[in-house]
């Protein structure tokens, strides 16, 4: 029998495919596959880390408005299993940010250069919900490649804190940061740096 993939590799492949579809169609909600392991951090978040990280990647994690240090238990757990390098924010290829208090930290991530725009980081941002029915939801209107005209993304009110840093990060396109929003239920949405975001009320 040819050993093609383990359950974790299968889950990673499904996660990668979901992220690819979400980046191709910004604003479309994807459903992440739960990784088959007991992770100390948020499960969906960890699944993305396993799908995107390997030895060549530098990762930074933030929680409660601060970057986690190299000896943080979650950082050690993740880097040991994904074989990624823990790096400071300006060197990170992937950043995992856990709450709205971390929104200002987005400014510290690399945005690439005009010569190497692909050197811009990818930020995975954990939000409350991406399908918020509440009247006080924050609604982002998205435009750009992959969107027919425009589409709306209804997030929990606290997630509104991410809008300004995301907009700042793509002010000098093609430099910028690509963002993945992930909610507590495993929904995800891709916001590549080509997507223009404006806020409107419901």
């Amino acid at each position: 029998m040819v050993p093609m993939s383990t359950p974790l590799e299968t889950a990673c492949r499904a996660t990668f495919r979901t992220l690819l579809a979400c980046f191709a169609r910004p604003g479309t909600l994807g459903r992440l596959v739960a990784p088959p392991l007991a992770a100390p951090g948020p499960g969906w978040w960890t699944g993305i880390a396993f799908a995107l990280l390997d030895q060549t990647q530098g990762v930074a994690l933030a929680h409660a408005g601060r970057w986690r240090s190299a000896d943080d238990p979650l950082v050690r757990w993740l880097t040991l299993r994904c074989h990624a390098r823990h790096v400071s924010a300006p060197q990170a290829q992937l950043a995992l940010l856990a709450d709205p208090a971390c929104a200002p930290l987005l400014d510290e991530l690399p945005q690439g250069s005009l010569t190497y725009p692909e050197a811009g980081a990818t930020a995975v941002v954990l939000v409350g919900t991406l399908a918020c029915p509440a009247a006080d939801a924050t609604v982002w209107q998205l435009r750009g490649p992959g969107i027919a005209a425009h589409c709306d993304l209804a997030l929990d009110a606290a997630a509104g804190a991410w809008l300004a840093p995301i907009q700042r990060s793509r002010a000098h396109y093609p430099r910028g940061i690509d963002v993945v929003l992930v909610d507590q239920d495993g929904r995800c949405a891709g916001l590549p740096r080509t997507t223009r975001i404006t806020e409107r009320g419901l």
Partner: protein
């Protein structure tokens, strides 16, 4: 006559894929098992691995089966699969001297330290078709197994298969260039992540050669030794066997054995130049070749080219150096997957570019006619003008 870009064809493409399967299976023979491919077509499997740059014997057997034995297609399948894999960790540097050799020969000395081990080789076999293979049966398999058990019984022991390196012996006697005093301990160049730029570091050269097409390396190396170059290699050592591989433990850094590679390693020495400029004492130059599997011709070709390219860099070649001494030419044109991909893409529709070519051809004809002068030139120009008018009228209609 007009040309337009084609659209559609999805059904034809899907049908073509079904037909490929049909052509593979229409002989009404039992399907090949991967075990049969892996063990009975081991050179095809090895070639898929070293040209695909992925050591995975079972997957390589699958690739060979899927590619119907086409070596470049099989290596393409493996390399494409490799691109989907995460990079878990780099191995610790593997030393060829730790190889458990099944074969170890030298063409430099008859009595090399440790002795020679011919091992599995067809080098001394007369190239006659063995008709008996067509009737091979279980009894034949048992007979061979019995013979090999006899060999093993007479050559048992913990040190069997472990040999010192011939190049160490040569170095101890100041015959070959020494290991550089200041070894560059920077990370090796990674040709899968960075485009080759010339002159490139030796780590990039060796990577490119190791995953190059065997036929291409053979051609370049052959040209250099046959007369379009200055290479006169002597095979210091060729060894084939199983090479242990270890990684550093992610927590305490200690080496951890994770498996072994079936591999071929080759070292050649080139002739010395007593009149070479410089203050170093005359020494042989060293060339290094390595492949996974038993790829002896490729390993030797790689060692020859490594030696030639090193000598070019150091100014050690004399006379005409030949095309094999052009590092950029050799390294950029020896990858079988890249070369076959570029060549095969000409099968894809080029309707638009060919339409442009036709327009250029028409303009060239008119230009030539106009410049021809005389009655004939004027007549040709008038004829082309009339044709153009007719085509325009037809197109408008």
């Amino acid at each position: 006559m007009g040309y337009i870009a084609a659209r559609g064809g999805t059904a034809a493409i899907l049908n073509a894929e079904v037909l490929v399967e049909h052509y593979r299976l229409r002989g009404d023979t039992p399907p090949l098992t991967l075990g049969q491919v892996q063990h009975q077509l081991r050179h095809a499997v090895g070639r898929a691995m070293h040209e695909g740059a992925l050591y995975a014997p079972q997957l390589a057997a699958l690739a060979v089966k899927q590619a119907e034995g086409d070596s470049i297609e099989a290596s393409f399948l493996l390399r494409a699969y490799r691109a989907t894999l995460p990079r878990v960790m780099a191995t610790l540097p593997a030393q060829g001297r730790s190889m458990q050799c099944a074969r170890r020969i030298s063409a430099a000395f008859r009595d090399i330290p440790g002795g020679q081990l011919l091992g599995p080789s067809t080098d001394y076999q007369i190239r006659l078709l063995r008709a008996a293979l067509a009737r091979e049966c279980d009894e034949d398999i048992a007979r061979i197994a019995t013979l090999v058990e006899g060999f093993a019984a007479t050559h048992a022991g913990p040190d069997v298969g472990h040999f010192p390196k011939v190049v160490d012996h040569l170095r101890a006697h100041q015959m070959v260039v020494p290991v550089p005093a200041a070894v560059d301990d920077a990370e090796p160049f990674d040709i899968t992540r960075q485009a080759l730029q010339f002159p490139c570091p030796r780590s990039a050269r060796l990577q490119a050669l190791a995953q190059a097409d065997t036929g291409s390396l053979l051609t370049y190396a052959y040209s250099s030794v046959r007369g379009y170059g200055d290479a006169h290699p002597t095979l210091a050592e060729l060894r084939y066997g199983h090479l242990p591989v270890a990684v550093a433990h992610p927590v305490d850094g200690s080496p951890v054995w994770i498996g072994e590679l079936e591999a071929t390693e080759c070292e050649t020495v080139s002739k010395a130049h007593s009149v070479r400029a410089g203050d170093a004492a005359p020494r042989f130059h060293l060339g290094y070749g390595f492949t996974v599997g038993q790829g002896e011709v490729k390993a030797i070709s790689m060692a020859i080219l490594d030696s030639v390219l090193t000598q070019v860099r150091s100014g050690g070649l004399s006379g005409e150096s030949g095309p094999a001494a052009d590092e950029e030419f050799v390294l950029l044109h020896s990858d079988g997957i890249e070369a076959s991909g570029f060549t095969a893409h000409y099968k894809l529709p080029h309707y638009v570019t060919f339409e442009a070519d036709l327009q250029v051809l028409e303009r060239a004809k008119r230009h030539a006619a106009a410049n021809a002068g005389g009655r004939l030139g004027r007549a040709l120009a008038a004829a082309f003008a009339a044709d153009a008018l007719t085509e325009g009228t037809t197109a408008d209609a």
